[in-house]
């Protein structure tokens, strides 16, 4: 993980909208744990909601091993805000976790500050594993690095 802590005022990229039902998830990413919400049958689903989608059952949580496969990706040469200006392109990907859910993240290099992988280093079907990017004192985003 990054040794350097960034304060909220320095981090200009979008931070997650905080809702009560997401609090448990973000508290755990801060502890470098990737939790997945589960329905009454124990099967994980994504994304966290207050009730299990499709049944409205109460939810539970299970920790993910953090390994998966790139389902698809798009190399973004322009970001959604001026905070991305002047940066190398970032890779937005959909990752199929081995637990059977698909989540969005960035494909990054396992280096200080988790910089983006080069566009030519990402492909559909590539194996990846989770890393935890402490983007601010409060928020840690799960990101993924290629598995050699």
């Amino acid at each position: 993980m990054s040794e350097q802590q960034t304060t909220k005022s320095e981090y200009k990229k979008p931070l997650p909208d905080m809702r009560p039902e997401g609090q448990h998830f973000w508290e755990n990413t801060k502890q470098h744990k990737l939790l997945l919400p589960t329905g009454a049958d124990g099967a994980p689903f994504w994304y966290p909601r207050a009730y299990a989608p499709g049944t409205l059952d109460p939810i539970g949580w299970v920790e993910s091993k953090g390994e998966g496969t790139v389902y698809t990706y798009s190399v973004h040469y322009i970001g959604p805000s001026s905070a991305y200006k002047g940066e190398p392109p970032h890779v937005v990907a959909l990752i199929d976790l081995d637990e059977g859910v698909r989540m969005m993240s960035n494909i990054v290099r396992d280096e200080e500050g988790y910089p983006s992988v080069a566009p030519e280093d990402v492909s559909i079907g590539m194996r990846v594993r989770v890393v935890f990017d402490d983007v601010t004192d409060e928020i840690t985003l799960p990101k993924f690095v290629p598995v050699a």
Partner: protein, 410 residues
């Protein structure tokens, strides 16, 4: 997740449309960068054009269906416009389902007419999206389709969201980048003939591929435009239209389809294709037609990839075959089924699917020749049947219409 499929009653939809629900007037303003006109001003301008097309005055309109504005924030868009225009409609509604809005406005009008709530319904949408939007509004628009907690923090853009699906589609079906560029090239030939198209130059596949990459697989030229402008269509009954000026065009098919909201939730390429395709397939089922019967297709084209998966979902092309289809010259004016004869969102202007409906109507009226107003002839000779659609979100929600120059026969 359990999925509750809607069970539309085709016979009941046909019963409504058999009354003769028609588009009896259309209108479009200039499109592009119109710094001298505000959002409601554009809506008023296009209302006048549309009423003139039908030979009506404002007092003839008793129903009003509008959409939304990126610039003017109001929770009561339809009645705010009614106030601006100086009218007191008996029926009013605003529809907000992103790019699926325009065909859903027509559906809303048809339902109101069938229920006896109104007889002459103005469906109007316009905005100064290009000139009037603030930078924070632009960021909000770019993030509009991202989940605020689980997608937006990764720097997803709307373009990239479509890119995620397009890249997987191209991977699964071995579709080359050139197929996407050909969609743009084909539509550029059509936009060159459309009087109010923002981009009138004809571009080649090579030209498209030479533009700047925004989010793979999309270059600048693969993306829809951001524009100022307005468009409208007037929905009424065939009986009422008899006393109006323009040739009525019948709505003979309606269909809707949904598969996901956030792109992360899209299960598969096939799931998306089937979800959006359901809209077109149902509309054709209601109309009692097959894809082979169509003369023209005005297909929502937020990105160059968008019409490809829709053509497949509607059954016009086989799965994974739309790229080859378009590369073979299909979709062009002069081919068996011309697609986006006005240039679409990529070359004409972006106003959801409003222009697709207006263009389909003009085609079926035999009036898609803009030679007299600085454009060219983009009329499909003898066009009698058209399909048109709009998709909101990242191909999340789709609404489709079949339009016909003849009354419903089914």
């Amino acid at each position: 997740m359990s999925v509750r499929e809607a069970t539309p009653n085709v016979a009941e939809t046909r019963r409504m449309l058999k009354k003769g629900i028609v588009i009896a007037g259309v209108g479009e303003t200039e499109q592009g960068i119109l710094k001298d006109r505000g959002s409601f001003q554009l809506l008023a301008e296009v209302t006048k054009i549309t009423l003139d097309d039908a030979g009506l005055s404002l007092s003839d309109v008793d129903g009003m269906v509008t959409a939304f504005s990126f610039v003017e924030s109001t929770l009561m868009h339809s009645t705010t416009l009614a106030d601006y225009l100086g009218m007191t409609p008996g029926y009013f509604a605003s529809v907000a389902v992103g790019g699926a809005t325009a065909p859903l406005m027509a559906v809303q009008a048809a339902l109101a007419i069938d229920a006896g709530l109104a007889e002459v319904v103005l469906c109007v949408r316009g905005d100064n999206t290009r000139s009037g939007i603030s930078s924070s509004g632009m960021i909000a628009m770019a993030r509009e389709m991202s989940h605020g907690a689980y997608e937006a923090p990764y720097g997803l853009t709307t373009i990239g969201g479509y890119g995620l699906l397009a890249q997987r589609y191209m991977h699964e079906h071995n579709v080359p980048q050139e197929a996407l560029a050909q969609v743009v090239a084909t539509q550029s030939e059509h936009a060159a003939l459309k009087w109010n198209a923002m981009l009138r130059d004809v571009v080649s596949v090579e030209d498209v591929l030479a533009t700047r990459m925004i989010a793979t697989p999309f270059h600048v030229a693969d993306c829809s435009l951001v524009s100022d402008g307005a468009a409208a269509f007037l929905v009424t009954t065939a009986d009422r239209a008899k006393s109006m000026k323009s040739k009525p065009v019948y709505i003979t098919g309606i269909g809707e389809g949904y598969s996901h909201q956030y792109i992360t939730e899209a299960k598969s390429v096939e799931g998306v294709r089937d979800g959006l395709g359901r809209a077109g397939r149902r509309a054709m089922e209601v109309a009692g037609i097959t894809p082979e019967d169509l003369d023209v297709a005005e297909i929502y084209d937020s990105f160059s990839f968008t019409p490809l998966i829709a053509l497949e979902g509607f059954g016009i092309c086989g799965k994974g075959e739309a790229g080859d289809w378009i590369l073979a010259g299909n979709g062009k004016l002069g081919s068996k089924l011309p697609v986006n004869t006005h240039g679409g969102l990529i070359r004409q202007a972006h106003l959801g699917a409003m222009h697709h409906i207006v263009e389909a109507t003009l085609q079926l009226r035999g009036e898609a020749d803009d030679s007299a107003r600085g454009g060219g002839n983009h009329q499909v000779p003898g066009a009698k049947l058209a399909i048109t659609n709009g998709s909101g979100g990242i191909l999340a929600a789709t609404s489709a219409l079949v339009l016909s120059s003849e009354p419903p026969s089914a």
